[in-house]
C-alpha cells in the first residue's frame, strides 16, 4: 500500500504526527533530513509528503522545489509544516515554490488527517483524468492508424480500376471513380492530421534552440508553389532564436499557409511575420490582408475539424487545432483578431525558458 512520507528533524513532533496518521490507517515513512526525504521518495514513491520547512541539511522549500521539478514526483501532494512563528511571506514563498499546502503548528490531529484525505481525493481525481487523457490519445492514434491501411487500398485500387477500364469507362463511371478517389484522399488527410494531433503534446518532445529566421526561410521554401501561384508577398521583421520543439515549424507553416489560402480573391495576399520581446515571453504576429474572420467564429476556428468555408477551401480542419495544441504544449497562447473584408492578425506567445536571454 502506498505510504505517507513524514519529514521532520524534530523527533517528538515527527513521532506524534506519525502516530496520528498510523491510527488513521495510513502507512508512514519517516525522514529527518532533506536528503533522506529525497532518497525515500525515490525509493518508495509515497502518495503524499508532509514536509517540515526547517531541516538541518537544506531548506524544506528547496526539497519541495526538487520534488516538483522531477517529472516522477511533480504530482505528489507536498504539504509544508512549520512552527507558529512563521511569517506570512514565508508561507507565500513556500506555496509559490510549488507546495500544495502550508500547515502551521499546532495542528489538530483531526484536521491533519482530514486535510491529508482531502489532498488524496484530489490527487486520485487528477490521476484518473491523466489516465483517461492518455487512453484517449492512444485510442485516437490507434483509430487513425488502423483506418489508414484500408484507405490506402481504396485509393490505389480505385485508380487502377480507372486505368484498367480506360476507354471502356463512360463519363458517369469515370466521374464516379473520381469521387471515390477524392473522398479517399480527404479521409487520408483527416487521418494524417489526427495522428499528428494525437502526438502533439507527447511527453518526450525535445526542446531545442530554434532560429526563427531560418525557420521562416524553410517555410517559404515548403510553401513555394502556393506563394508563386498566388503572387503572395511574404515579409518579416527580424525574428529571434527561441527555445521550442519541432512543432513550431508546423505552427508557422500552418498560419502562413492559411493566410495564403484565405486570401481575398481580387487582392494580392500580403503576409507579415513579426516578433516582440516581452519580459517573460516572445510575442509573435502573423498578419494578413485576407478575407478575415467574423467575431463569432474567432474562437471556433481553433476547434478540431471546424471548417468555416466547408469544402470550398481545401484542408482537413486540423491545422489551427493542432497549432493551438502545439503552442499550449509550450505553455503559450494563440488567438486571432480579425476584421472581415480587411484581414486577420494571428498572435501567439512562447514563454521564455530558463537560460534564454
Amino acid at each position: 500500500m502506498a505510504s505517507i512520507l513524514n519529514v521532520d528533524d524534530y523527533h517528538p513532533a515527527r513521532y506524534a504526527r506519525s502516530k496520528v496518521l498510523r491510527q488513521a490507517g495510513f502507512e508512514v515513512l519517516e525522514a529527518a533530513t532533506g536528503q533522506e526525504a529525497l532518497d525515500l521518495t525515490e525509493a518508495h514513491s509515497p502518495m503524499l509528503i508532509l514536509l517540515d520547512v526547517n531541516l538541518p541539511d537544506m531548506s524544506g522549500f528547496e526539497v519541495c522545489r526538487q520534488l516538483k521539478k522531477n517529472p516522477k514526483t511533480s504530482t505528489t501532494p507536498v504539504l509544508h509544516i512549520s512552527a507558529s512563528s512563521v511569517q506570512s511571506y514565508q508561507q507565500v514563498h513556500g506555496l509559490n515554490s510549488g507546495a500544495d499546502s502550508y500547515l502551521v503548528e499546532p495542528i489538530d490531529p483531526g484536521v491533519l488527517v482530514a486535510t491529508v484525505n482531502a489532498f488524496l481525493r484530489a490527487k486520485k481525481a487528477e490521476d484518473a483524468l491523466r489516465h483517461a487523457n492518455d487512453e484517449l490519445e492512444w485510442f485516437t492514434y490507434r483509430v487513425a492508424h488502423d483506418l489508414s491501411e484500408p484507405l490506402r487500398t481504396v485509393t490505389a485500387h480505385a485508380q487502377l480500376l480507372e486505368m484498367d477500364l480506360g476507354e471502356k469507362l463512360d463519363r458517369n463511371s469515370a466521374q464516379c471513380i473520381q469521387f471515390v478517389v477524392d473522398a479517399a484522399r480527404r479521409m487520408r488527410s483527416f487521418i494524417d492530421g489526427l495522428l499528428r494531433y494525437a502526438h502533439a503534446a507527447h511527453a518526450d518532445r525535445q526542446i531545442m534552440q530554434v532560429d526563427c529566421e531560418a525557420l521562416f526561410q524553410r517555410v517559404t521554401t515548403t510553401l513555394d508553389e502556393a506563394i508563386v501561384s498566388t503572387g503572395a508577398k511574404l515579409t518579416h521583421d527580424p525574428l529571434p532564436v527561441v527555445a521550442a520543439d519541432a512543432g513550431l515549424e508546423y505552427v508557422f507553416q500552418n498560419l502562413i499557409s492559411n493566410a495564403i489560402k484565405y486570401r481575398r480573391p481580387d487582392v494580392v495576399p500580403e503576409i507579415h511575420v513579426s516578433a516582440r520581446e516581452d519580459a517573460d515571453s516572445w510575442f509573435f504576429t502573423v498578419a494578413d490582408n485576407g478575407v478575415g474572420i467574423r467575431p463569432q467564429s474567432q474562437k471556433e476556428i481553433f476547434s478540431i475539424f471546424h471548417r468555416l468555408h466547408g469544402n470550398e477551401v481545401p484542408g482537413n480542419g486540423i491545422g489551427l487545432a493542432l497549432s493551438q495544441k502545439i503552442i499550449q504544449a509550450h505553455e503559450g497562447a494563440i488567438w486571432v483578431e480579425s476584421e472581415p473584408g480587411t484581414g486577420s492578425n494571428f498572435f501567439f506567445t512562447l514563454p521564455k525558458r530558463a537560460g534564454e536571454n
Binding site: 490506402r152 490505389a156 485500387h157 485508380q159 487502377l160 486505368m163 487520408r188
Partner: protein
C-alpha cells in the same frame, strides 16, 4: 519469350500482393512471383526454391516480422548479394534506418495511388539493373 525474373514476395495482405503484381506489369518486368503469407513461410520458400533475383519484404508480417526475415537473409551466404526491398505502410525514419542497417537495399512505402505504384515499379527495375 523473355526470361522471367524470379521474385519472392513476403506479404500477408492480398490487396498489396495485387498491387505489387500490377507494379511489375506496368513496369514491363516479366516475372515469376512467389508469395509467402508470413515470415516463416518466407524462410521456407527461400530454402526450397532456386535463388531469387529480388526479395520483397513487408515489414509487418505475422509469425516472423520483416526485419527478422531480413536478418536471416543477410546471415545466409547464398543470399548475401540478393537485393532486398522492404515495404511498409508507415515508413517512420527509425524503421527506415533499421531496415537499411540490417542490409536492405531499399525501403519503400506501399503504393497509395497510381503514381506511387509506378514509382515502385521503377524502383524495382532500378534495383534489378544494379544487381545485374
Amino acid at each position: 519469350m523473355e526470361k522471367q525474373v524470379r521474385i519472392i514476395l513476403a506479404e500477408d495482405n492480398p490487396g498489396d500482393v495485387f498491387l505489387v503484381r500490377r507494379a511489375l506489369e506496368k513496369q514491363g518486368i516479366p516475372h515469376q512471383l512467389m508469395v509467402a503469407r508470413n515470415g516463416e513461410e518466407a524462410l521456407l520458400l527461400l530454402d526450397q526454391t532456386d535463388l531469387p533475383q529480388l526479395i520483397l519484404l513487408d515489414l509487418n508480417l505475422p509469425k516472423l516480422d520483416g526485419n527478422q526475415v531480413l536478418s536471416h537473409i543477410r546471415q545466409t551466404p547464398a543470399f548475401d548479394r540478393t537485393p532486398v526491398i522492404v515495404l511498409t505502410s508507415s515508413g517512420s525514419k527509425k524503421s527506415r534506418e533499421l531496415a537499411l542497417a540490417l542490409g536492405a537495399n531499399g525501403f519503400y512505402q506501399k503504393p497509395t495511388d497510381l503514381a506511387s505504384l509506378m514509382d515502385l515499379g521503377r524502383e524495382m527495375q532500378r534495383t534489378l539493373n544494379e544487381a545485374a
